[in-house]
Amino acid sequence: MNYKTENIKNLIVKKPLKLECGQIIKDYPLAYETYGKLSKNKDNCILVFHALTGDQFASGINPITKREGWWNNAVGPDKAIDTNKYFVICANVLGGCMGTFGPKSIDEETNEPYGLNFPVITIKDIVKAQEALLDYFQIKKLLCALGGSMGGMQLLQFCASFPDRTFSAVPIACSSSHSAQNIALNELARQAIMADPKWQKGDYLKNNDHPQSGLAVARMAGHISYLSESGLQEKFGRKLQEKADYEFSFNADFQVESYLRHQGYSFVDRFDANSYLYITRAMDYFDLSKQYKNGLTEAFKDQKTKFLVLSFSSDWLYPTKHSKDIVIALNATGANVAFSEIKTDKGHDSFLVNESKFLTTIKGFIDTSHEEFRNEKRI
């Protein structure tokens, strides 16, 4: 995965950041992208947090991978998050591999990639790093912040850590704490990477190598968890891949196998295996309630932010129960919260695909928030 860095906007964050593991980082690059124009009085700024394998290129065509941006269904001109009206910022997470400081970055002391010498980071660290971006654009308060999956976790952390920095927030298909099943699935992915001999204890980049097989398997496992049983069944069933009958071999006889292989191997071109380890670890460590003595309720104390919590009926990775727990905690503090479970068979990935019920709901919420935010600013 070599790419030209000239298409990547970078903010060098000077302010030292004390990571939860104790290490301090400073003067590190934070890669980001923006869409639309910031209004004069800065009342139209939306921050989008990406999920595990996302990056800063949410909309349009990703200039690095030449593929569609991960949230192109939602972000763009005349889309639900309308970039004709709103200024959208998205940053590549700390530990990522699209230009932000991560295990692929070169350690100036050794002149080699950090690999496993990169510090273990957390969702809180990731969010704190992104605050620098708001300071850079001199945005005191966002109109809205949104995130699905790990993006939703960042958003919850963002609201807890910086209660006054967004007018509204939309956590989607996420959780305030990674469940045993979530951790288990991430561990499966990590083990697949580490079992690949090419991983070389994380030192593969020094030898210009990449544990592609391990990372592909990790991605396949992840991908299954993003889809629902009925969704997979409807899409593939037992259909065979360009053949009339079984081959009596271990080639991809079934369409679903071929699809998974494609998902796995097209992923390795654009993602770094060590980043996958670090980011999944950050997700596993995420437990917002643990950060506060009185749990989640205290995390959301004194929230002025207007919340819209969304879940998907067929999401078994972060089921509705996880979202409801967030809603209950917000209610307990008297926060302003709306909640809806979108009925769909598209599974966890529903927020990424063209799911009209979901898109119209967030559009309505953001547009009305915009009016309210402007009124608030006027007063």
Partner: protein, 202 residues
């Protein structure tokens, strides 16, 4: 006709609520009342609604509505977290109306509960003269598809409140476009002539 009737009821409920108060609308439907309260009376209003379509409609209007079942999910709201809790013509649809009622009184300083009155003369005559289950503007269903499990009359609800030591501050009866105050002296008559009863209780 049904819509006009609803608006009449909402108007009465709105009149009972002071400006700038905190209100929870249980079973808020498409958010008509919520929108009215927040716009006209600057009320900080939240809703709970079962139907996904209604919830999405409300959210699109900027209303903070939680999708959920009042029968099982009122427990998430803390004690006295609202000034008023509204329940409009749904009490009769719950498996356990008394449990729901207790939650309303726990969550709100006061509650406003409205009921379609089964003691209304048209309801009574329908059964008496035609021997058929009553169908009226506020009770438009047939016996086999009605969501109303526990129909009651204004008098029934009045007696329940007395039995449970629930303080009834105001009772309003609606008959077509006429509104009347109900009290201990006129309840027999009003129970006959009101299509809907609205109770402000605490």
């Amino acid at each position: 006709m049904k819509n006009l009737e609803m608006k009449k009821e909402f108007k009465i409920i709105a009149d009972l609520l002071p400006n700038n108060s905190r209100v929870l609308d249980v079973g808020c439907g498409d958010g008509t009342l919520m929108k009215f309260l927040s716009k006209e009376k600057n009320i900080d209003v939240r809703g709970l609604e079962l139907e996904e379509e209604n919830v999405k409609l409300c959210i699109s209007k900027g209303l903070s509505v939680i999708e959920g079942n009042a029968e099982t999910e009122l427990g998430q709201f803390p004690d006295k977290s609202f000034d008023f809790v509204i329940l409009s013509q749904t009490l009769q649809a719950f498996y356990n109306p008394v449990t729901v009622l207790e939650h309303l009184l726990r969550i709100g300083q006061s509650s406003i509960v409205s009921i379609p009155n089964f003691g209304y003369w048209k309801v009574r005559t329908s059964l008496l003269l035609y021997g058929r289950m009553p169908k009226t503007n506020s009770l438009p269903y047939k016996w086999y598809n009605t969501p109303n499990l526990h129909m009651c009359t204004i008098k029934d609800f009045y007696e329940l409140c007395k039995e449970k030591n629930i303080n009834m501050k105001t009772i309003v009866g609606i008959n077509n476009d006429k509104i009347s105050m109900i009290n201990n002296n006129n309840i027999k008559l009003k129970n006959l002539f009101s299509e809907v009863g609205i109770f402000l209780i605490s």
